[in-house]
């Protein structure tokens, strides 16, 4: 037992922190700290710096750029990236599709995709959710019909973050019927420039454009873009969801938000009520940091699927980001009243919103942390059933 960080871990943290501050331009880190959305080019720039330092994909196989770092160190890295205001390595690339290709892709797919994914030369988005198949993913309906060396794909994906910035999308598609709902699902990589794909923005209450619907109308996808075996997509999706959870609790991000609260709250920090909310948030964050490490340190084979205890990180981490966003909003006082945003925010690069608007946006947009990626209700179901063993008999 070693309940605190080791000397080696502390050194690692200091080194990461120094590297990030030295190498990632202040303009990028400032924009992140101010909760402003970044131009695509800045995100690419940041990820390439991370990749150069071995920070983008340390959890990947060493052959593809991974490092032999402990889970605790990887969690420290993730925390420091967030805390420093460096954009996270694009999770769709490094935490989701990358490991799936590394584990189940063909050699050709690995060579073709892994290096550009790590370096953000290729930008992937995630095509899982459909209207009517959100938390209940197994009822997805987008169909891929095999015709010779192609699939013909038709259907719709929804809530697709950054589809409008992405080059490729990885999709769960239905290639077979019958049997149980999650049988007959396959895992396809699709080039978004293929004819027949239409991306429509979903404007959100934070005034920005992150989300999209993606429509597929008879889209031809080469069979070589199938990952692994046809009909095994559900297994790969489970594997994907069991991947790198070292930043699931968003500890570094919450740390950054609470630091910002202290910068902005001014005299409110002497208001006992506001102060107490902040104190609780700080204590919750400390607890979450350690809970995160405890879950992370309990390394499981990815094939075991997600550790159900990561649901704690998801729920608590999301709640804390929401709490911090509420503190930021309240710090604005009546200044928030003129900190709205155009109904249809301008495209990148970010401009036209001042620091206050970005905070109001962050308050609205933070509701997503308890909705996307498995709503908190689903996470509680998981905890009750998979950890506590409740409700199985009923």
């Amino acid at each position: 037992m070693e309940l605190g960080f080791t000397e080696d871990e502390r050194r690692f943290r200091a080194e990461v922190r120094r590297t990030l501050i030295e190498q990632v331009p202040e303009r990028i880190r400032q924009a992140v700290r101010e909760e402003k959305p970044l131009p695509r080019a800045w995100m690419v720039e940041a990820q390439r710096i991370l990749n150069r330092n071995g920070y983008a994909v340390p959890h990947w196989p060493i052959a593809w750029g991974g490092r032999d770092w402990s889970a605790v160190k990887r969690a420290i890295l993730a925390e420091e990236i967030d805390r420093a205001g460096v954009p996270k390595p694009l999770p769709f690339n490094v935490a989701l599709i990358g490991p799936v290709i590394a584990a189940f892709g063909s050699e050709a797919q690995k060579r073709r995709f892994l290096p550009p994914i790590a370096n953000l030369d290729l930008w992937f988005c995630q095509g899982f959710s459909e209207p009517g198949a959100g938390s209940d993913l197994a009822s997805l309906r987008m169909a891929a019909v095999r015709e010779g060396d192609h699939y013909r794909v038709s259907g719709q994906k929804i809530w697709t973050t950054y589809a409008h910035k992405a080059d490729w999308i990885f999709c769960l598609v239905r290639t077979g019927q019958g049997g149980r709902k999650h049988e007959g699902i396959s895992f396809l990589l699709i080039d978004l420039r293929t004819p027949g794909i239409e991306i429509r923005p979903i404007r959100t209450i934070d005034g920005y454009h992150h989300l999209n619907e993606v429509f597929f109308d008879d889209v031809r996808v080469p069979v070589e873009n199938l990952v692994g075996e046809e009909g095994k997509g559900w297994d790969y999706a489970r594997y994907l969801l069991g991947q790198e959870r070292t930043s699931m609790g968003n500890v570094g991000f919450s740390r950054r938000r609470l630091d910002r609260v202290r910068e902005l709250a001014g005299p409110l920090l002497d208001d006992p009520g506001y102060r107490r909310r902040l104190t609780w948030a700080e204590i919750e964050l400390k607890a979450l940091e350690i809970t995160q490490m405890r879950v992370v340190a309990n390394e499981r084979p990815p094939s075991a699927g997600p550790d159900p205890k990561t649901s704690i990180l998801k729920v608590k981490g999301g709640e804390l980001l929401q709490t911090a966003a509420g503190l930021l909003l309240d710090a604005l006082g009546p200044e928030a009243l003129t900190a709205g945003f155009p109904q249809a925010a301008a495209e990148e690069p970010f401009q036209g919103h001042d620091a206050r608007s970005a905070l109001v946006s962050a308050y609205f947009s933070s509701r997503k942390y308890s909705i996307f990626g498995g709503a908190n209700e689903i996470q509680r179901n998981i905890l009750a059933k998979a950890v506590l063993g409740l409700g199985k008999a009923a």
């Binding site: 809530w159 009243l337 609205f364």
Partner: protein
């Protein structure tokens, strides 16, 4: 005690509901036209004494109107213009105020109270904005923020510090030296940040007097807070309705998600939060005629609880709508935005709790 609206109140509630829902159905409709509709229905004069050209409505009537306004997500700045600035004019009295009030009721002039200043949060009683009088008129310098209901045609009621105390000056937004920046509110309306640099206005532009102004403004703000509480109750009620509808329609795992007990209980908690908010709104309205100290505590307590209910109901409504609640198109998100603005307006939860506690309750 009797919580049933009388016949006249039922009629009023029904007709404003119809009007506001009509307006809501045409979001891009002409605001000038909508303002005329308010006038034609007698709403601009509703809260004012008949002697002042109003319709002699009671606070209860205003509460019914504002609940309907909240339910329909009203867009025109009726509460800011009539219920805050208008009532301040009536309370102040005197020729300047009376003339402005008459024009406001007639729908020919808009007035707005410029309450807040940069960096002072919700404090309005010690403005940094300064005024000097040289016999002929006033010279005004300072900044005001977040003036709801103001546009470039509005007459701004500006509290300003003078050697004699707090003056209240009626400054047409078009006055030379007045710069106005129209900015979007987080619920998609407009509010003004205002700068006065040596703006000159005639001596007659003063309303009220330094001895009474703090009390006059406090009373007007308390009335506006009670109205905001009613608006929030109406908005929460509709938002819960939208949520319950969605829970009945949206299916997952083969059943309507409204059959999941955890979601049912959340909806029940929202209902309770709204009913408690409605009760505190009733309390605030019932106390508007009480002595100032009691009135202020009652109103602050009401706003604190209504705010807390609003934050809970707004956030949970989005949660229960899932991704749909986050989209700008679906109405739930707009109610959440409106509630967020109203929580902030006239003081957030902590601000009002502080008032209650300072009063020693």
């Amino acid at each position: 005690m009797n919580f049933e609206p009388d016949e006249e109140q039922r009629l009023l509630a029904a007709s404003v509901a119809r009007l506001f829902e009509d307006h809501g159905a045409q979001p891009s409709a002409d605001p000038v036209r909508q303002w005329r509709d308010y006038r034609d229905m007698g709403l601009l004069g509703l809260p004012f004494a008949e002697a002042n050209g109003g319709h002699g409505g009671r606070f209860e009537d205003v509460m019914l109107v504002m609940e309907a306004y909240g339910r329909a997500l009203g867009q025109v700045p009726y509460p800011a213009v009539a219920l805050l600035a208008g009532r301040l004019l009536e309370a102040a009295g005197g020729p300047t105020a009376q003339a402005l009030l008459a024009e406001m009721i007639a729908g020919t002039k808009r007035v707005a109270l410029a309450l807040y200043e940069p960096g002072r949060r919700y404090r309005w009683d010690d403005p940094a904005t300064a005024a000097e009088c040289d016999g002929e008129g006033w010279t005004l310098t300072g900044a005001k923020i977040a003036v709801l209901g103001a546009d470039r045609e509005t007459v701004l009621l500006c509290p300003a510090t003078t050697a004699e105390g707090l003056r209240l000056l009626a400054v047409p937004a078009g006055t030379a030296g007045v710069a106005m920046e129209m900015l979007p509110t987080p619920d998609g309306r407009q509010a003004a940040n205002v700068r006065c640099d040596d703006a000159r206005i005639p001596a007659a532009a003063e309303i009220g007097d330094p001895a009474r102004n703090p009390a006059l403004i406090a009373a007007a703000v308390d009335g506006a807070i009670a109205a905001a509480c009613a608006e929030m109750v109406g908005a929460m009620e509709r938002l819960l309705g939208l949520t319950v509808d969605y829970l009945g329609v949206r299916r997952q795992f083969g059943v309507a998600i409204g059959s999941f007990q955890a979601l049912q209980h959340r909806a029940a908690d929202m209902l309770m939060a709204i009913e408690q908010a409605r009760s505190m709104t009733i309390h605030a309205v019932a106390m508007l005629d009480a002595p100032a100290a009691e009135r202020t505590v009652a109103v602050a307590a009401a706003k604190a609880l209504v705010n807390r209910s609003s934050r809970f109901v707004g956030q949970q409504a989005i949660q229960l709508h899932g991704g749909m609640g986050l989209t700008a198109e679906y109405p739930a998100g707009r109610y959440f935005q409106r509630l967020t603005v109203l929580e902030n307006l006239f003081g957030d939860t902590g601000h009002h709790l502080d008032i209650v506690e300072r009063a020693g309750v």
